[in-house]
Amino acid sequence: MKRIAVPGRASPPPPAAEPGVWRRLGRSPAARISLAVIVFYLLLAAWGCSGWELPDWRTVNYARAYQGPSPAHPFGTDIHGRDVLAKTVIGARTALTVAFLASVLAVAIGLILGLLAGYLGGAVDGIITWVYSTLESVPYYLLILAFAFVLQDRSINLWGMEFRLEGINAVYLALGLTGWVGLCRLIRGEVIKRREGEYVLAARSLGASPLRVMFRHLAPNVLHVVIVTFTLGFVSYIHAEVVLSFLGLGAKEVPSWGVMIDESKLELARGVWWQLLAASLAIFGISLALHVFGDALRDALDPRTRGTKR
């Protein structure tokens, strides 16, 4: 096949690529610092998961119960004489694992249902909208509590494998099964906005099936919503894990920031404040970092703010 001759001069070189998302993120010092904090927490959690040279939080030694902060124990010890700093570090593992698994579950459900509802419309949309409106009408923590209660100590049979939902497993399942609502609604809206778009029509005119249109053409276009929701949702899952553990529905036999705060209820009366401080500081640090980073990410990903100097 011969090339079709085009008269005219040589085409100009392609325009310089506009700065990428990372470049735009990097411009803001707040984003850089918060990212460093998040990475620090992730490393702590990864350390906790690897089990390598973990700080000792198990050894019970009543001889050194309720010791104040000292060089050997920067955040003192608890009622059993265990190191509070070590518990806080393991608590990061608990919180981040729960938040990560819950986020993945919620994003998967929210994205798939949102795409289906938005693109297919009709009865599918009606059913999905009804389900999430119902879930949304129940106050958030009440809903998680209900789910956690129901799921607690239940065993489920998945493809012949038994899973026993105890402690932390029930928590992330409960969080994931309730957390998809917001994302689903956002995705549904974004998809409705885009489904009549010409590139969707163009893809269909080339023979793309509905699933192909949804997952190959529409999903990448709504990914910025997913990323921002993931980041901001992460914070609320960390909080939810703390709340559930505080109420005794979450972590058992593993340190959790929620359990630590629960324990400090009794300790404060005795003037033991360091466990509360350690857990609160840990939660404060990750929440603030994720919020700041999520905001910066939203600004960087939102095409409407592109090209503006900030």
């Binding site: 096949m1 011969k2 090339r3 079709i4 001759a5 085009v6 008269p7 005219g8 040589a10 085409s11 392609p14 325009p15 690529a17 419309g121 009549e196 778009g197 010409e198 590139y199 029509l201 163009a202 893809a203 269909r204 005119s205 080339l206 023979g207 793309a208 099936s209 192909r212 190959r216 053409h217 990448p220 276009n221 990914l223």
Partner: protein
Amino acid sequence: MKESLRIEGLRISFPSPSGELVRAVEDAGLTVPPATALGLVGESGCGKTLTGLAVLRLLPPAARLERGRIFLGETDLSELTEAEMRAVRGEQVAMIFQEPMTSLNPVYRVGDQVVEAIRAHRRLSFASARHLALDLLDRVGIRRPRERYQAYPHQLSGGQRQRVMIATALSCSPRFLIADEPTTALDVTVQARILELIASLRERERMGILLITHDLGIVAGETDRVAVMYLGRMVEEGATRDVFARPLHPYARALLRSVPRLGQGRRRLEAIRGNVPTPALRPSGCPFHPRCPLMIPVCRREIPPLKVYESGHRCACFRAGEEAT
């Protein structure tokens, strides 16, 4: 005429707020023989685009295909299942649209979009599909296809984007191409090059082309046959040469007169009196009668049938070929 694209008795309606159906396309029919370009002209809202979309069964959800059959060769497209129809789209009949900016997915590199179009129909490895995509980009006249492959749609000019669209449409060598106002969004010099490209497809790839446009200049230059639509009806159809030399329908004649010409002096440009009625207020009888200079009483009562005049030139008018006095 065996492998032509044929539309018969097409009727498309939209439900109006009051619940009754408003006919946007009424009894439209046309035939695109292979390796022929047919121009479908008419003013905005006369049902040209709907006719094109109906061929691929991609009408907007609210539209209702009430009647009509669409044949591709011997196959009746209206009887295919949705899955069979997907195999037709892109493989047999492809479509390109007016706005090349929004027809390309903004998040994919343009080369990958061509690959995507290829792989939607053919089981090819990514590498060989990529090879084919580069070849296609080259064939539609994109210079340095290797570099352009990596570009995102917003980095390309309108003309380049339309070329990429054409490359995706060509990816499975369809037998027919529906081009819905392919050059309306482009400036005039780019327009000419894109039209040149489309014309070359007809010759080199033996592709039948349905060119939907409101630009009579494009029709004169690029088509073999032309069909004129008015308010969802075909009013005239024939070889482009004949229609331009001797338009039979008063509407077609008025349209041709309203095109400015170089060297016609400082004459006032003729316009068609009145406005296009909305489809909801379709006049009785001949849809053109309220604006027609040749109107006689029968036009108000009866719809003129599409009659054949010499050499396949068809026209729906009781006073076809008569001049206004």
